[in-house]
């Protein structure tokens, strides 16, 4: 993997989005708690850090940027394309307690078409490519999955546990659950198949076409096919086990993965349902890159704290010390000057001035 630095990457990502005409969205560290509590299940984690503001209002340290962007996007003003690079505060199942998470991402809100969706998916692949050429982007379409469940007559309240088992690719449990819910054998087979299918689009689209039941699934697959054709297909994988809350998400969803990291680093999708819940008619799509997860990719720590330790004593004139240090720095070395060797630090060479 190429040398890697998180700060540099954040800059490159911002530049990438800016060049596509996305404008930067900056927000304050905290927002009124109301916004988040109304859409709590949209958030990755339900926990929110709150405090009381000087005027008595309950405020929250922002757990998410998307909600604020959507709230402030004007309806009927054409497409709103924004990117952000902000710290958010949330808990994660793997770590106890709250963490500050550096997140960069973009959102496109408005009347979406194939071009807008394709551009977002393409930017997701470009973002991952900036980190590693060996990335994989898993893509799914919730319309296809919920189309299948609806066509089998599975009521909404039973869809959630089915989707959870799909998310685990847990075929035995999925079968047992289908049996309990009284779903027909054909539906059970299709769901199990869908949970385990994994591969590049051109390989999986033909078998998926055979699974179509009804107009909804057919439209979803067609959209998926068109969008996937717009991104580098050798890095895309279809995976219908990615599940997101269907109260908010619909349509295309995707997750980005890099070798050597234990979990996904990019997550995104289309969330028209969130806008509908806010009383809007249009749609939205976006993604976030979790920069905090990339720390582990950073190139190995340097062997020494500095190349050279320059020691001096009372006899050495100060200008001579600083001149000598500067001379070595100009030669490309990192130089620390001290009277005594500092404890716990390592240097490639140690030398006395003069």
């Amino acid at each position: 993997m190429e040398p890697f630095n998180t700060e540099q990457l954040a800059r490159q990502l911002r530049e990438l989005y800016r060049r596509c005409g996305y404008t930067q969205y900056k927000m304050s560290k905290f927002e009124p708690y109301d916004l988040y509590v109304r859409n709590k299940s949209f958030l990755v984690s339900g926990d929110i850090l709150t405090f009381t503001d000087a005027d008595g209002r309950l405020m929250a340290l922002k757990p998410d940027v998307t909600l604020s962007i959507v709230k402030n996007a004007r309806e009927g003003a054409g497409l709103q394309k924004v990117y952000y690079s902000e710290n958010v505060y949330r808990t994660s199942p793997m770590s106890q307690g709250f963490r500050e998470i550096m997140q960069t991402g973009l959102e496109c809100v408005g009347d979406l078409d194939l071009v807008a969706m394709g551009e977002v998916l393409l930017l997701a692949t470009r973002s991952l490519e900036l980190i590693s050429r060996d990335y994989l982007l898993d893509v799914s379409h919730l319309g296809f999955v919920s189309g299948l469940l609806d066509s089998a007559g599975v009521p909404r309240e039973h869809q959630v546990p089915l989707l959870e088992r799909m998310g685990e690719k847990n075929v035995p449990a999925l079968r047992a659950l289908c049996r309990d819910l009284g779903a027909d054998g054909e539906t059970a087979d299709a769901l199990c198949r869908l949970a385990t299918l994994y591969g590049p689009p051109d390989e999986l689209l033909p078998p998926l076409r055979e699974m179509i039941r009804g107009a909804r699934m057919s439209a979803a697959l067609e959209e998926l096919e068109h969008v996937c054709a717009l991104a580098p297909s050798n890095r895309l994988r279809l995976d219908f086990s990615i599940v997101n809350n269907m109260d908010y998400y619909n349509g295309l969803i995707f997750r980005g993965y890099l070798p050597g990291l234990p979990s996904g680093v990019l997550s995104g999708g289309r969330y028209d349902n969130l806008l509908h819940q806010m009383g809007r008619e249009d749609g939205a799509i976006g993604f976030a890159v979790y920069l905090n997860l990339l720390e582990r990719l950073e190139t190995a720590q340097p062997e020494f704290d500095a190349d050279l330790l320059l020691l001096y004593d009372d006899q050495t004139p100060a200008p001579a010390v600083l001149r000598e240090a500067e001379r070595c720095r100009l030669a490309g070395q990192t130089v620390r000057v001290e009277r005594r060797a500092p404890e716990g630090l390592t240097f490639r060479t140690v030398r006395k001035v003069g």
């Binding site: 898993d138 035995p172 993965y257 990291l261 234990p262």
Partner: protein
């Protein structure tokens, strides 16, 4: 492929299964204190970990796949794929109490368990207020000494319960060993993991 095996009898059974499935590593049978065993030609590296830690190793990708009891998966709910039911280590997660005692709803129920999350979920589904007493072993002792009213624990044969004058009140969920995989490893080592899964499935479906 890194494989986390649960220490103990179940782990040995699982290793035998994987050996038959085409992933042998003879050095694992040697008597020594090594922790990691590798067979490059079969493309596997095994290591023994505490059964309750398997899910953590897999979730954090120190192991690509691992074998964990369903009890551990239900308790910790790790972000992993659950690819196969190995049908081994079968037992049940049960509520048990002293024989002949009445379980009344007029008091907060004291529940001793190694599985606080499973117990909490089970009783909150019944809208029951409980006092969880988290123990690390010898759970059966708790009701005998009056530390708790009931226990939530794994029951295999029921012999320990019987010998200690305890009885099963309810079965919460059946348990068996599951093959789990890290979500990212599944993507980047898709062929290897799928092949192993198929081999294991094949062996498990044979009587």
């Amino acid at each position: 492929m890194n494989v986390a095996l649960p220490k103990g009898r179940l782990g040995e059974q699982v290793y035998s299964l994987l050996e038959r499935a085409g992933y042998p590593c003879p050095s694992i049978r040697e008597e020594n204190r090594k922790l990691v065993f590798e067979n490059q030609s079969a493309g596997v590296r095994y290591f023994w970990v505490k059964p309750s830690d398997v899910a953590i190793y897999v979730e954090r990708a120190a192991a690509d796949i691992g074998i964990a009891g369903r009890d551990i998966l239900l308790e910790y709910r790790p972000e992993v794929y659950e690819l196969a039911d190995l049908g081994m280590g079968r037992c049940r997660m049960c509520v048990a109490g002293r024989k002949g005692t009445r379980e009344s709803r007029d008091q907060t129920l004291r529940v001793a368990t190694k599985f606080p999350n499973i117990a909490k979920r089970y009783y909150s589904a019944q809208s029951r207020d409980i006092d969880i007493i988290k123990l690390h072993g010898s759970i059966e002792l708790a009701p005998l000494l009056g530390l708790s009213d009931v226990i939530v624990d794994i029951v295999e044969t029921g012999k320990t319960l019987l010998e200690n004058d305890l009885e099963i009140r309810n079965t919460i969920v059946p348990i068996s060993a599951r093959l789990i995989a890290n979500k990212v490893s599944y993507k980047f080592k898709h062929e290897e993991i799928t092949r192993l899964c198929q081999q294991v499935d094949l062996l498990c479906s044979k009587p």
